[in-house]
Symmetry: C2
């Protein structure tokens, strides 16, 4: 029996991925070894790594200039690694502040150059995406966080600019169609739409690299990771394997355009209930609502605990909101079945009727 | 059917660990979720993390001053992180060069202070551990690589000094009794004796930290990781879980003293055959032989390919030597059964008789 898993990440994965991985843990492709026991420089694992890297490129339809890396340390490591590789001392980087994760990225970048925070929605507790901002033309890059897991906001358009775009897409990568080629560097912890915790995907244009004079430590240097086929040192073998299986699954579903239709449907169903159910209301500007993380509260906060308990009985898990917003957050990542959203909506309806 | 897995790492794991993990991939402790799908800040996972951290402390009998961290990036990240946290610009750190991995550590440290390479066995292709060296008393620490996977050498004694000791124990941690409290910082990629690829264990004395003026990036700061219970950001959940299971297994075997007896027996059996079989010979100084990685060659190198093929037929895998040494390397980590070494020795005997 599986629960309805609305966790914000790590989060639900496709059953096919879990069953295949469970078998590979005992015997990987008839090798007499577990996937955990094979050498990372053997051809079976190199094939896994290369398939994962090429599936990212294929699913995102990335141009040849892009290289795909599987690194470690999560997006938090990228907050540091991006400016270390792209920003010269004295250079300017532009950042848009859309929440906790943007802020962490901004904080680390300040050690490597001048950080121009060109817009922020902090004053309204990040309940919307800033629309008005000027991008300094001399900026080496503009950094955005495409989806804000904690607040449930999402960029609906890619900023139009000649400045190279860098994006943290940890919580909405591979969930919707967009022209990823408008970006110069995209990173994402893989534990939401791309697999399980333990690896970070970086898609970077080779033409962005090698332009600064700073001495970059070996393990932090994108160029060295590229030269080594994303195996500069022992990669997180299992996390890459799970990511490869998750990407295969997405391809079998029909890729991003197919999953986007389901994601649109899931989000529409839940927001529709929030907007029509008298007990609930959404917390963010409608035009900036995230299709991945749906944040909502109750008009009577004293009912929230009871609703949580009610949901738990229906095997609905992971919907408690982040402490900085309160209420509820339902994460609707690619692998969450439509059926789980139906169960959630039914629970809201039923709870509301009971209270009427 | 399992093969005899002599891989240098990632490498063999206990069957119990693999079976338990395989089940947890489908359903973790009756939660209706895979271990990959649970939130890392939920109590079931916090319990996993805390059990792993406390088992390391218990098995190594570490004093209270030590904190245990599970980080990402492998030993290669620690080559950078150690000097970044411990070495002031202008300070001296002493390193002993015993091979490729020591060298990588030395290279990264040079960005943070003065590195005094007080001894090296490079001239003899790292076939022994240097015995004569002077440790500069002003050194902030002395760094050693306790076991050299590529060459098959191992420190048999801990240097006696008042200078704090830092050790890369990636390939022999938890394999033999030693007074780990003589060290101030110990790190190890967990993929040999402590689990599968994807996590790095760091045991550090709190009293060593916070002494430098350098601004340390958030994700690189040991102190911040300690303050956050080794969950500064999303940890590599599954890699920590596998490590916890592996540590539990080791404890059930009787801990380090018990596994050491088996490790001694395995190494003695294999070295004995190498020393007595006319076709083979060891490559390193006898007094520095590693009990984890046994390196040997054939007097007639033209036979090596044939012997490799012969072993493959006997389901012996992972014994091809590193390109910088050639010949063979059999890794005898904790989880390798004695029986696998018996099969290996029989293969050597049989091959030798055939050729006589």
């Amino acid at each position: 029996m599986k629960v309805h898993n609305f966790n914000a990440g790590p989060s639900v994965l496709p059953n096919e991925v879990l069953y295949k991985a469970s078998k590979a843990l005992i015997d990987f492709e008839g090798s007499g070894m577990s996937i955990l026991e094979i050498g990372h420089r053997t051809s079976p694992f190199i094939a896994v790594m290369e398939e994962a890297r090429s599936l990212v490129k294929e699913l995102m339809q990335l141009e040849d200039d892009f290289e795909i890396l599987y690194l470690q340390g999560g997006a938090t490591m990228q907050f540091l690694q991006v400016p270390m590789n792209l920003l010269e001392n004295g250079d300017t980087a532009a950042y848009v502040d859309t929440g906790v994760w943007s802020n962490k990225a901004i904080k680390e970048a300040k050690s490597f150059g001048f950080v121009d925070v060109i817009a922020s929605s902090k004053e309204s507790n990040y309940n919307h995406i800033p629309k008005q901002f000027n991008i300094p033309p001399q900026a080496k890059y503009l950094h955005i966080t495409t989806n804000n897991t904690i607040y449930g906001t999402q960029w609906q358009m890619t900023p139009v600019t000649d400045v190279p775009l860098v994006a943290d897409m940890s919580s909405d990568i591979l969930s919707r169609s967009m022209d990823f080629n408008k970006f110069s560097l995209i990173y994402a912890g893989v534990q939401k739409n791309m697999g399980a915790a333990g690896a970070t995907m970086v898609a970077v244009r080779k033409s962005m690299l090698g332009k600064i004079t700073r001495k970059i430590p070996t393990i932090m240097d994108y160029k060295l990771h590229i030269e080594n086929g994303s195996m500069l040192n022992t990669p997180p073998v299992f996390a890459v394997y799970i990511s490869m299986l998750t990407l295969r699954w997405l391809k079998e579903q029909g890729g991003i355009t197919a999953i986007e239709k389901i994601n649109d449907k899931k989000a529409a169903m839940l927001y529709d209930e929030i907007d029509h159910n008298p007990l609930f209301r959404g917390t963010v500007a409608k035009e900036d609502r995230s299709k991945m993380n749906v944040c909502f509260i109750m008009d009577k906060p004293e009912m929230e605990e009871e609703f949580l308990k009610f949901c738990a009985k229906e095997d609905i898990v992971g919907i408690k909101g982040h402490r900085s917003v309160g209420g509820f957050r339902a994460s609707l990542y690619n692998a969450l079945p439509l059926e789980s959203v139906e169960v959630m909506v039914e629970a809201m309806k039923y709870f509301s009727l009971k209270k009427a």
